[in-house]
């Protein structure tokens, strides 16, 4: 058999593998399952494996001796690197990466190989390791001896490459540059998996020992590692203490390349190296500190804030640089975006990066996110079995894929995993609950800001239900008129403002608010709503009848006008309720008008052209109705003023009439109910004329009031004196009518009532007198006719 020169690393690797396969410890590995498994794990076609076995001479021997085994391994490496299987290639291929076995990735080997930089490999080991004398002697040779020859052949070729992949596993923890180196290899030979092979080969043998009791449930994510592997490596385990502990040792080893490459920050390189590093740990998915630091640096390049998010688009660009297929990137995203928010937090980003690196190094992606990659930073203290997990506290833990029963050393951790898984489910259910089909389309319309004083209001359309209107009214009553600040109405006790002052700020506030029918307040300021809505109502008021509101002393606008203005801004309910609203900020009289059509009995009475009377009667009517409609009118001053004013007008204009009306009234009352009824009907029409007649009558001495019910002549004769008496009494009573401005409301109302009655009486009187006049004229005509009849005799 050809001499086989192996690097020291390879020697170690192969020896480890040999020991692994050598279950019987006979230094002679038959074609047992382990070997076959190992070869199968090399992921080579079966015919290649057969060829290899043949080449190495095992078929000849019938079993794998150490040399055959080593040769076979070497050939596997050759095959994995895509080179034709030739016996010559054993030695000719200089820089052959170590055979990679998917089953077992072992970083120990990598570390070991890393310990021996290229420069040292070539010749030194050869010298150290005696050449294998031949096949027959191969068995006796130590592993190192056998391996040695191959080493130089392997090394040179991969000079630029080998070292880094070899080095990377233990260097990857320290620095990112090695990841980049790896990247170069990857780019160069990723397809052929050369660097991968090295890394894998380096890893696999050591992976197995590592996979031993340290992490019994080690999750080789290819999930091919047979459990027995772990047992056989017990010895090695002792030799190779758990990964984390060895790591520091290896880290301390001279890593020449550590400082060399530390510039480029390309994701892909990082991916590769990282993947290698990740493979060498107990948990293939654990992120080392150095890796983590690298990821954090990468994160910072995208998002300076470590607590912030990387949006999906940025992450997409970033990871697309790794040149992984979109499908795989999509899968990585699905795994790493833990909270499904379309953005990556630092943890998620690290997990994604880690997965990308792994994938770059041809590690298969897991179906579920490994727990070590889960974006949680809980300190899992119960990982007592896992040594030296301090640096990776957040990520310490058994691998995900491992079923709990395989990791008895970390039962507590395993307990957390189901919790996590359940948490996932709970998360799912939570999201289910929260994102039901209903809520998907509905938005919370009652978003209450935390700080009510922020006064950040957004228009919230509210439906003015009667109950709300009532509430608003109550609010309005309660809060009064301080509208300058949105919340002040709620909080401030409104001082007793005059009506005008109340109006002014309210109107200002109205103009500041927007939208009729909308209350510009949040739900928490629902109290404000009544104010604003009322204010908006006011606004509509003011918009249409500003003069009425502003000019208090001016004569009130005709009642129907404000009523019409409300048609758009308020529903009938509002009108009605509005009428009921205490006119705190409103002018009582004017506001009270519109909602209720003031009963106007006066149209019948005021058919006459006498405006004064009409206004008086109108006022009287309003005054009578308004108090009835509005239970409480604290600010009746305006209207009262007007009333008084009007009342004061009345006496001046119709001063004569009042005394007339009063006596007329009294005479009427005295005459009897019948007469009044009848005279009412008749005098409704002639009221004005009667009044005017009465007015004229008043100037001269009061004429006798004639009553129609009795015989006209008799009545005429009797009524007139009676009427005159009545008029006299009315006149006498007239001065009692208050004329002062600030008269008591009741007195004013009484006077108004009296005046109205006086008017009525006078009107009736007027009509009666008119009728009497007509009768008299007829009599006169008849008398004249008689006279003429008698006179002809004289003319004869």
């Amino acid at each position: 058999m050809e001499s086989l020169t192996l690097t020291d690393g390879e020697q170690k690797y192969y020896s480890d593998l040999f020991v692994y396969c050598d279950t019987d410890n006979t230094k002679k590995v038959a074609s047992n399952g382990r070997v076959l498994d190992l070869f199968r794990a090399a992921q080579l076609p079966s015919e290649v494996v057969l060829q290899i076995t043949e080449l190495c001479g095992a078929t000849r021997l019938g079993h794998f001796g150490r040399s055959q085994f080593y040769i076979a391994l070497k050939l596997i490496a050759v095959a994995q690197s895509g080179l034709p299987l030739r016996v010559e290639s054993l030695n000719s291929v200089k820089d052959l990466p170590l055979p990679r076995f998917v089953v077992a990735k072992n970083e120990q080997e990598a570390r070991h190989t890393a310990m021996y930089p290229d420069s040292e490999n070539q010749g030194s080991y050869q010298g150290v390791i005696p050449r294998p004398p031949g096949r027959g002697h191969v068995k006796k040779l130590s592993a190192h001896e056998v391996i040695q020859p191959c080493v130089p052949t392997v090394e040179p070729q991969l000079q630029p490459d080998t070292t880094s992949p070899v080095v990377s596993p233990h260097q990857s923890p320290p620095t990112s540059p090695h990841w980049r180196k790896h990247k170069r290899q990857a780019s160069g030979g990723n397809v052929e998996r050369q660097p991968v092979v090295v890394a894998g080969a380096v890893w696999t043998p050591f992976r197995e020992p590592q996979a031993g009791p340290v992490v019994s449930g080690d999750g080789m994510w290819s999930a091919n590692s047979p459990p027995p592997v772990q047992e056989s490596w017990v010895s090695l385990k002792d030799a190779h203490p758990p990964s984390s502990s060895t790591l520091p040792a290896i880290h301390s080893s001279p890593v020449q390349e550590n400082s060399s490459i530390r510039t480029v920050a390309s994701a892909t390189t990082a991916n590769e190296t990282q993947r290698q590093s990740s493979g060498g740990y107990d948990d293939p998915w654990k992120i080392t500190d150095e890796q983590r630091q690298y990821y954090i640096n990468q994160f910072k390049t995208i998002q300076p804030d470590l607590n912030g998010f990387i949006p999906g688009s940025a992450a997409k660009e970033f990871f697309t640089k790794s040149k992984l297929p979109i499908l795989e990137l999509s899968h990585i995203w699905e795994l790493s975006d833990f909270d499904k928010d379309g953005a990556l937090t630092l943890d998620e980003f690290c997990a994604a990066f880690h997965l990308v690196v792994a994938r770059k190094n041809s590690y298969d992606l897991p179906e579920k996110l490994p727990e070590s990659l889960m974006p949680k930073l809980i300190d899992l203290d119960d990982s007592a079995e896992v040594p030296d997990q301090a640096p990776d506290v957040g990520y310490s833990g058994s691998p995900v894929e491992v079923t709990p029963n395989k990791s008895p050393s970390m039962p507590s951790l395993n307990q957390t995993w189901p919790d996590l898984n359940q948490g996932n489910e709970q998360w799912e259910t939570f999201s289910e609950r929260s994102s039901s089909s209903q809520t998907l389309t509905q938005f919370d319309s009652n978003i209450a800001p935390a700080d009510p004083d922020t006064a950040i209001v957004h228009p919230v359309p509210i439906r003015m239900t009667p109950s709300k209107i009532h509430m608003q009214e109550m609010e309005l009553k309660r809060t009064g008129s301080d509208h300058t600040h949105p919340t002040s109405p709620l909080m401030a006790k409104p001082p007793d403002l005059s009506e005008e002052t109340k109006l002014a700020p309210s109107m200002k506030f109205v103009t500041a608010n927007s939208g009729d029918g909308y209350s510009s307040s949040d739900s928490y300021t629902s109290d404000q709503d009544p104010i604003t809505s009322v204010v908006t109502r006011q606004r509509s008021h003011s918009g249409t009848s500003p003069e009425g509101l502003k000019v208090v002393t001016a004569p009130p606008p005709p009642p129907p006008r404000p009523h019409a203005s409300h048609s758009r801004s308020s529903s009938l309910d509002m009108n009605r309720s509005f009428a009921a609203v205490p006119p705190g900020p409103q002018s009582a009289g004017v506001v009270a008008y519109p909602p209720a059509v003031p009963p106007r009995p006066l149209p019948t009475q005021t058919s006459g052209p006498h405006s004064g009377h009409r206004s008086d009667e109108g006022l009287a009517a309003h005054s009578t109705t308004s108090p009835q409609q509005i239970p409480e009118q604290p600010n009746f001053a305006d209207f009262s003023q007007f009333q008084v004013f009007a009342a004061s007008e009345e006496p001046s204009d119709d001063g004569e009439k009042h005394p007339e009306s009063l006596p007329v009234e009294k005479s009427l009352e005295g005459a009897g109910p019948l007469r009044t009824v009848k005279s009412d009907n008749q005098e409704e029409r002639a009221a004005a004329t009667v009044n005017s007649a009465k007015g004229s009558i008043m100037a001269p001495p009061p004429k006798p009031v004639r009553r129609r019910l009795k015989s006209e002549d008799e009545l005429q004769e009797e009524a007139l004196p009676l009427k005159s008496n009545v008029i006299a009494t009315v006149l006498a009573a007239q001065p009692s009518i208050p004329r002062s401005v600030g008269k008591d409301k009741k007195a004013i109302q009484a006077s108004i009532r009296r005046n109205k009655e006086t008017n009525t009486v006078l009107a009736r009187l007027n009509s009666e007198l008119q009728q009497q006049l007509k009768d008299l004229l007829e009599e006169r005509i008849s008398l004249e006719v008689q006279l003429e009849q008698l006179r002809p005799f004289s003319h004869l």
Binding site: K316, L327, S330, W333, D337, K340, G342, E428, E432, L440
Partner: protein
């Protein structure tokens, strides 16, 4: 349990369709295709009351003697169609609704993936697994 689950895009081409493999898949594809007409009809029925008022769950689109077809439309006019076996103990409406809800959630997760271009077929494994869980266990 569903016999066939389909996700139809706004333009009425399938984004994802999966049926219990043993049976004649073509029949289910055809059923889903014809059910789109019913979906369109139900969508347009609401008229001016826009999507906010229209419920996402459309309910039973039409029953045949073998199976029932249920529909669900998202606000972006992506339709989910579930074909359920009639012989199966009749699924309660709530169950169908919950299935649609899960579908919608998973679909949203797929959409959130920046590597997924809307309009592509859905190849997410998570989505697949969720759908598998809802399908009738392989007969």
């Amino acid at each position: 349990m569903a016999v066939c689950i389909a996700v139809i895009a706004k333009e009425n081409y399938p984004l994802y369709i999966r049926s219990v493999p043993v049976q004649n898949e073509l029949k289910f594809h055809y059923t889903v295709h014809t059910s789109l007409d019913v979906v369109e009809e139900k969508i347009s029925a609401v008229g001016k009351a826009m999507a906010d008022q229209r419920e996402l769950y459309l309910g039973l689109l039409y029953p045949t003697e073998d199976y029932k077809v249920y529909g669900y439309v998202t606000n972006s006019k992506v339709k989910f169609v579930i074909v359920a076996d009639s012989s199966n103990t009749s699924l309660r409406d709530n169950e169908i609704r919950s299935m649609f809800r899960k579908l919608h959630n998973s679909f949203t997760d797929v959409m959130c993936n920046p590597f997924y271009n809307p309009g592509d077929t859905i190849q997410s494994k998570a989505f697949d697994s969720m759908v598998s869980a809802m399908m009738v266990q392989a007969s």
